[in-house]
């Protein structure tokens, strides 16, 4: 007994306790404090590593993202592409089907768009060409999404590994296609497709060639939100995600729901490929998806699948990414410098939610 009392004498312990409730203003004060603190920490890091004035670096980031009309449009374009991929992941994630194969689904959608642009777009009127491109990219995404879903539904394979490996297969298919579509010969790239005729390129609407993408993404986001919250399909996939036993009890055909949901998820990710290829880059390469299939996972999770929050998170991430390109050239920094800043900001923003939900209490034991 003596030994124990000695050990515990005068100990101080900290316990976390769940808050009963928190006022909205207090919660936002915590978040605001987190942003200020993160900017402060970033400033220290910037000074320590680069010896630059942090305020100038911040100004550089802002200027890079929204400094000119052109830059604003690029930021918007990148945001909507990231958003539509995140929206595409939501049905799968709500079903607890961990689709980390968006990257591959985007590549396949992009490849389908490129194929239509190369082989058919010149023979079709533009509106029809665009429709064919959208349909073909969706179909390619469906194909890439439904294969792992089939194996999950019928053989209970692990969808995480399966969808991940499908990404590599997709990359190799793109490599093969580059060999076929190489232009000019020997460049090992596809080059800008239809650079003269602009066949299959998204047309300018309201003065910008990115407006069509914005409309498509808004439409898809609204439709998916309605689908998830009000349709029978959305209800079914949520039940399946919670428990397949409950789903069977409810008389839901679990296999059918898995296949159907992954068709939808794959189709939207494939569509994102069309927005990238026909709507922006007008070419295809193995880096067409550019890691956005993975970044979108962060977007979907951080927003807890809430569409409004997904818009906010996409804007934030793209803003930082576009800003990084600017500071890289302006200050001669590596592009990773902005990743560090983004990382610190995210750390504080996500971390502060802990203090919104919990409080810390200190206990002292009598000596």
């Amino acid at each position: 007994m003596d030994k124990h009392s000695k050990k515990s004498a005068g100990r101080t312990v900290i316990h976390m306790e769940k808050r009963d409730s928190i006022s909205r203003s207090k919660a936002w004060m915590i978040r605001g404090a987190a942003v200020l603190l993160s900017l402060l920490v970033c400033a220290i890091v910037i000074i320590a590593i680069t010896k630059q004035n942090p305020l100038e670096v911040y100004a550089g980031i802002v200027s890079g993202a929204v400094g000119t009309r052109r830059r604003i449009w690029v930021t918007v374009r990148e945001t909507v592409v990231l958003l539509i991929i995140a929206v595409g992941l939501v049905p799968a994630f709500r079903m607890k089907f961990w689709n980390i194969g968006a990257e591959g689904q985007i590549l396949m959608g992009g490849a389908a768009s490129a194929a239509v642009m190369i082989y058919a777009a010149n023979k079709l009127p533009l509106p029809l060409a665009i429709l064919v491109i959208l349909a073909a990219s969706c179909a390619a995404g469906v194909l890439w999404g439904v294969i792992p879903a089939f194996f999950k539904a019928y053989f209970n394979t692990n969808e995480t590994l399966f969808t991940l490996m499908m990404n590599y297969v997709a990359t190799q298919i793109i490599n093969y296609l580059i060999c076929i579509w190489e232009n000019p010969k020997g460049s090992n790239t596809v080059g800008v497709i239809n650079s003269k005729t602009r066949a299959g390129w998204f047309p300018k609407i309201f003065g910008s060639e990115y407006c069509l993408s914005v409309f498509i993404v808004i439409l898809v986001t609204v439709l998916v939100t309605i689908y998830m919250n009000y349709s029978k399909h959305g209800y079914e996939l949520a039940v399946v995600g919670e428990s397949t036993d409950t789903a069977r009890y409810a008389g839901i055909n679990v296999k059918k729901v898995i296949l159907r949901t992954m068709c939808l998820s794959g189709a939207i990710c494939g569509l994102a490929g069309a927005l990238i290829v026909a709507g922006a880059s007008h070419t295809i390469s193995t880096s067409t998806a550019g890691g956005r299939g993975f970044t979108a996972i962060i977007v979907a999770w951080m927003s807890k699948f809430n569409p409004a929050a997904m818009v906010a998170v996409s804007v934030f991430l793209v803003f930082m990414q576009q800003g990084s390109i600017q500071i890289a050239t302006q200050f001669g920094l590596n592009e990773n410098a902005s990743d560090i800043i983004t990382g610190i900001l995210l750390f504080f923003l996500i971390g502060c939610e802990f203090f919104v939900n919990y409080k810390l209490t200190v206990y002292r034991e009598e000596a």
Partner: protein, 510 residues
Amino acid sequence: MSETNVIELKNVTKRFGEVVANDNVNLTLRKGEILSILGENGSGKTTLMNMLSGIYFPDEGSIRVWGKDVLIQSPRDAFDLKIGMIHQHFKLIDILTAAENIILGLDGPMRLNMKEVTTKINELTGKYGFDLNPAQKIYSMSVSQKQTVEIVKVLYRGADILILDEPTAVLTPQETDKLFNVLRSMRDNGKSIIIITHKLNEVLEISDRVSVLRKGKYIGTVDTCEATQESLTEMMVGEKVSLDIDRSNPENVERRIEVRGLNVRNNEGYHVLKDISFTANAGEILGIAGISGNGQKELLEAIGGLQTIESGEILYYTKHDNNVIEKLHQMSAGDIFDLGIRLSFVPEDRLGMGLVGSMDITDNMMIRSYNKSRGLFTDRKVPYNLAAEVVDKLDVVTPSLETPVRRLSGGNVQKVLVGREIASAPRVLMVAYPVRGLDINSSYAIYNLLNEQKRAGACVMCVGEDLDVLLSLCDRILVLSGGRVSGIVNARTATKEEVGLLMTGGKENS
């Protein structure tokens, strides 16, 4: 034995968010006594004990053990204070032997001397009268043997204060007697024991004193010799409660479900139901008794179209006179529903099968009927009204109809589920452990609902664990043992001992 207090709790309070699980609780445990902690489900018994065993930490109040104020931060701290808790859900590793489980997590020499360990275990088991083979693997043990391992585990670690959380919930009457003998022998050897329970007859049989909790509050402590079932119930519930079930004689009895030679293997390939045959009638309550895990779950799921059936038939008689027979064994749950057979099922695993924890009450009301409305979109009006009706009729305590059911207490979750299943005016009503987690008043409300359904002509099948209740609720009781029907008895004439014996397959004599 001098009357010294080994544990004193003073004004202990524990909150989980807005819920106050323990509110200013005071409690003392004397050396060498068996103290019962009595209270309904959700009254805070387990929370209180978890603070003694280092799983939770109190928000307010002090804990004195062996006369000293202590902070118990972890189960290890609790062990240092010679406190050992036997949890309701065993924490054992299946593929290890009893002895290996017992020494798990203990410091020791580099080279294990299992012989020495075994000797020490045998000394303990001999001293208190346990029946345990240290070399037996856990997976080959019965529930009561596993419990023995848990008890020996804490004794091996030198516990002088033992806390048992609902130890009899999973035992047959015979096994309960055995356990009580061991507990008495431990008490006579100077151990102090706390036993958490909500079964009154056990409290009266085993304990020296009883402390009662109600809704997190400490009500009082009485000497068992001065208590009666009625006085304890009143302390527990706060009012006088009549503990009678109004069992009417079966009327218009007709064959509704017939099971013939049913065999089922589970996912791992175990033969869980062997050659089951019986008839369940409309206008009657058929009880299904058995130690948990003897095929009750699979039997109900097979009838409900949720199990793959190896062989055998399950027949549903629509109406006796024109003899339209549906073959349920060829149907899935969805097929049965689509045929319009009103077969309601309250499964054992409420949040894992009957309900969706993350959804609110309204969304859970439509889980079996969402597809009835036309069109692509869900209709939430009807389920919303049903949700409001169930909440109102069964006194479900919930902040709102939009609260995810996972956030409700176990008893309220059960009410939501039972309420939904009864709302469809079922022809067949299958319920597994319908009152698990409910307080006494709600339990009797559910018993009355079952009787109402029986009088309305439903064929009721009820899997239960409390034999006293089954014997006073049901008309006939089917007993399962090792996946076989070991007997079907008349509930009006059978005794508890008779059913208990059938539960162990009728082999054991005690």
